[in-house]
């Protein structure tokens, strides 16, 4: 299964799952995008009409929105990568004992709900806020940072940077420390070591991270709604507006299909570009590396370490700021969750969680759902990862991109497709239906992460074990799996958090009998968010730290034998 030259067979379970749970809503969206009539109760026509596409492509507003969204996605991805490297490197250098806490820092934004996170951005960027004061201290005019593109970009970087950190963590941690020592011994300073050794060797992880972050950032719309102040229009917002507010499914579907096409294109281009810069993996002829002029080397070595430290501080601040906010708000004596002023100290919001058994019931549903979704995702992604990395078959890049499809289709569009299939959907037991969809949402992440981990495996060890007579199963269990453990752990953790926090699609599948905690939180936010939410967030973060500490006792979060 994991040997050289395997065919695409390993990717079969994953592909089948996608066909069962993802092809249906996708098909519905495709069919709707080809309808001519936009009346909500028009009979479905099977003759394709390209009216909606014509409408979209002939309108400058949609073009502008579409391109703005792609630029936003690219900008967010780039900024996340720049901030993620120092944080990921910091994480790999932490002593093993402290590592769970390091992980917890990275996960804070993912554990805080978007409403509260947005409040953090608002406080940070408000005309009377910290940043505005700092800029004015330099004698510059009062900046208008809030409710615009900058605010949206910053809030997206905050929540998507963790994905990149985790994607990089695994490949960076897997790197042989002797390589850096060798570079050092040959006269390279920290900046050149990073540029010539660390960076190229982490490109596979970077590819996974960049893909995931770009796809997420270019399909997100909740943050844009909350901190963009409706001056910012992104594609997914237009899909929501046309599909749900105006009940114009055909136009919304056509836009969703165009978004998906753009995402696929970017994924393929990224994959090819990274492949090009990692000739040792593709067994292509290596090209001579770019020569960096001596003067530039000196400059890089002089400013490199300081830039790294500055970026690390910036990254950690951005990650931890929501925690401060949530913890303080959870003991604030005010009924509204999104209140900026501190009114007095109270523990009562913690008491109210336990008084409200519905919160607990919904939280338990979310935990069960997330655990099941992660288990299934890992089982189907691992063989697929081997097939994609080691399989020598043609069309590998194409298949890799196809398996990431669910990420490329905006969540809101999956919801739209589901809405059309609801009557069929109600036949399936609610938990199973929700699980099927959550696996579709989680599996692309686990696949992206595991692909990078599999690519980083030391094959010499496998060959040695095989040469010493170990049967393949034993090689897998004793050599491959231990090397993959940190990657699997990170993928599972991330998958769990994605499922646990998912709202956009779940909201469509929520029934009276099956409601997840985030869906409840958003339902309450539509009216007025209560402060119990902050108490829940604080407890979730503490629980995660505890869980990480426990996990660290049983599973090594790092590869001790590499040191």
């Amino acid at each position: 299964m994991f040997r050289q030259g395997g065919g695409p067979l390993g990717a079969l379970p994953y592909t089948l799952w996608l066909l069962a749970a993802f092809a249906a809503p996708l098909g519905a969206v495709l069919l709707m995008s080809l309808q001519d009539s936009t009346e909500p109760f028009a009979p479905l026509s099977l003759i394709p009409a390209f009216t909606q596409y014509g409408e979209l492509l002939g309108d400058a507003f949609y073009w502008r929105t579409f391109l703005n969204t792609l630029v936003l996605g690219a900008g967010v991805t780039l900024a996340s990568a720049v901030l993620a490297y120092p944080v990921a490197l910091w994480l790999t250098r932490l002593p093993a004992r402290w590592r769970p806490l390091g992980f917890a820092c990275v996960l804070v934004p993912l554990l805080t709900n978007v409403v509260v996170r947005s409040l953090g951005i608002i406080l940070l960027l408000s005309p009377t806020g910290v940043l505005a004061q700092a800029i004015m201290a330099f004698g510059l005019p009062r900046p208008s940072l809030l409710f615009g593109w900058f605010a949206v970009g910053l809030s997206l970087v905050q929540v998507f940077m963790p994905y990149l950190v985790l994607a990089l963590y695994d490949v960076l941690d897997g790197q042989d420390a002797r390589l850096a020592e060798a570079a050092n011994g040959l006269g390279a300073g920290p900046a050149m070591t990073f540029w010539r050794v660390t960076l190229p060797l982490s490109l596979q992880g970077l590819r996974a991270g960049l893909t995931v972050v770009f796809l997420l950032a270019s399909t997100a719309y909740v943050s844009a709604t909350l901190v963009g102040g409706r001056k910012v229009y992104v594609s997914a917002m237009v899909v929501y507006r046309e599909g749900l507010e105006n009940l114009n499914y055909p136009l919304a579907s056509a836009l969703a299909v165009l978004m998906m096409a753009a995402s696929i294109l970017v994924t393929v281009l990224l994959s090819r570009a990274i492949w090009r810069f990692t000739p040792w993996l593709s067994q292509a002829r290596a090209r001579a590396p770019l020569v960096v002029p001596r003067a530039l080397v000196a400059v890089m070595e002089a400013i490199g370490p300081w830039t790294g430290r500055l970026l690390l501080a910036l990254g950690l601040f951005l990650l931890l700021f929501p925690l401060l906010l949530v913890a303080v708000a959870s003991v604030n004596d005010t009924p509204q969750a999104t209140m900026a002023q501190f009114r007095g100290f109270t523990w009562k919001w913690y008491g109210l969680i336990w008084a409200n058994e519905r919160y607990l019931g919904d939280a338990w549903t979310s935990v069960k759902l997330a655990a099941a979704a992660v288990a299934v995702s890992l089982v189907i992604s691992l063989p697929a990862a081997f097939a994609l990395v080691r399989g020598g078959f043609r069309g590998r890049h194409g298949l890799g991109a196809a398996l990431m499809l669910p990420l490329a289709l905006p969540g809101i569009a999956i919801g739209l497709g589901m809405l059309k299939l609801l009557q069929w959907f109600t036949v399936i037991p609610p938990f199973l239906g929700m699980l099927a969809v959550h696996v579709v949402l989680v599996a692309p992440f686990t696949l992206a992460m595991l692909r990078a981990s599999v690519a980083a495996l030391d094959r010499a060890q496998e060959e040695a074990a095989g040469g010493l007579g170990a049967p393949p199963v034993r090689v897998f269990l004793r050599i491959v799996l231990p090397q993959l453990a940190p990657g699997v752990f990170v993928a599972a953790l991330l998958g769990f958090l994605i499922s646990f926090g998912e709202v956009t699609v779940s909201a469509f599948l929520t029934t009276a009998r099956l409601q997840t905690l985030p869906v409840r939180i958003y339902a309450e936010a539509a009216f007025s968010l209560e402060n119990t939410v902050n108490a829940i967030s604080t407890l979730t973060i503490l629980l995660t730290v505890a869980l990480l500490l426990v996990v660290n006792r049983f599973v090594a979060l790092d590869r001790v034998w590499k040191r």
Partner: protein, 345 residues
């Protein structure tokens, strides 16, 4: 042609017959029945649990399921499930509810709900209005002079301080229609509204919900907007005493929360009983006391100091500015497109 018609009629009768015979079976509440209600979360859910759900559960041994969320998602779902609803009751806004009745998604008002006899006429169109929640001008009194008219938005001292509500949505719809009204237009002649609102640019911000507006007021991003008087009063009393809820001379724009029983529900009697309890004086009073929602029935007694903050009595209800919601909903997509191009963006 005539043959086809008669065949369709026969088919229709054949399909309808079991429904009529079966009526008796669904016309009573049975223990163990489950009612699924789609409604907003927060305080409204709590009031409904206390005054409607719990009494029904205790009296009849039924189970009430709440599905919480915003109007848009709920409405989209009800439309997708027309005729075979998974919801028995959905709560909608004034314009959505009237259109939903026209589209055959939800039922019109019937006599099976005794308390509906006390409803004001305006709260009876397109489902059972359960609360008046008018939309009006709200402003920060430290930053701008008192606002007495919808035309005051065009005063010089408000330039750059306005937080306009996004369209569609109850607030954005009211703002757009009131602008049309005060500038010589109407729902049938919307151009004056768009040209005049565009002239107000640049806006301090565009707000998409009350919670967002209050964060903007907290951070002093802008000084005036259009919002529900009810929530804003709670905000002003608990959080920001500088905010004033204006009584413009042209009146406040009507908005209602409407309980809509879905077409094709299998729990008709239970759904009727639910709505009846929601319209009961006790529940209506709780709405008024806790979230400043104004009663839609004329048989609720409120203390004078509370009544002064609400819309109470036929005269006050008549003063609410109403619109031709058919025209509004028919133009929504077009106006929404114009809004993103000419005003936001």
């Amino acid at each position: 042609m005539s043959f086809r018609l008669s065949r369709r009629a026969t088919l229709g009768a054949a399909l309808a017959a079991p429904v009529i015979w079966g009526r008796d079976a669904v016309a009573q509440i049975r223990a163990g029945d489950e009612l699924t209600v789609g409604v907003w979360g927060g305080m409204q859910e709590r009031i409904l649990r206390e005054f409607v759900a719990t009494p029904l559960e205790q009296q009849h041994g039924v189970k009430i399921n709440f599905v919480l969320g915003g109007t848009t998602d709920r409405r989209a779902r009800a439309y997708a499930e027309r005729g075979r609803p998974s919801f028995d009751i959905v709560y909608l806004n004034i314009f959505e509810s009237r259109q939903a009745v026209k589209d055959g998604v939800t039922q019109p008002v019937t006599d099976n709900v005794p308390n509906a006899a006390h409803l004001y006429p305006v709260a009876k169109l397109g489902g059972y209005g359960v609360a008046f929640n008018p939309v009006t001008i709200v402003y920060d009194k430290r930053k701008v002079a008192p606002m007495m008219s919808w035309r005051d938005f065009w005063r010089d001292d408000l330039k750059g301080k306005i937080i306009w509500p996004s369209y569609p949505g109850a607030q954005g719809t009211a703002a757009l229609l009131m602008a049309a009204k005060v500038w010589g237009g109407s729902e049938n002649n919307i151009d004056p509204a768009f040209t005049h609102i565009a002239a107000l640019k640049p806006f301090a911000a565009i707000q998409a919900s009350q919670d967002q507006l209050y964060a903007m007021f907290d951070q002093e991003v802008g000084a005036a907007s259009v919002e529900f008087g009810s929530f804003t009063r709670v905000y002003a009393e608990t959080r920001n005493p500088n905010i004033v809820i204006a009584e413009p001379s042209e009146g406040q724009a009507v908005a209602t929360n409407v309980a809509c029983i879905t077409t094709g529900t299998t729990k008709q009697a239970l759904a009727d009983a639910w709505v009846n309890l929601h319209l009961s004086p006790a529940c209506q009073r709780a709405y008024a006391e806790r979230i400043y929602y104004s009663p839609t029935v004329n048989n609720v007694d409120l203390p004078p100091d509370l009544a002064a903050k609400l819309v109470v009595g036929p005269a006050a209800v008549d003063k609410l500015v109403d619109f031709d919601w058919d025209v509004v909903i028919r133009n929504q997509a077009r106006w929404s497109n114009r809004f993103t191009r000419e005003i936001a963006g």
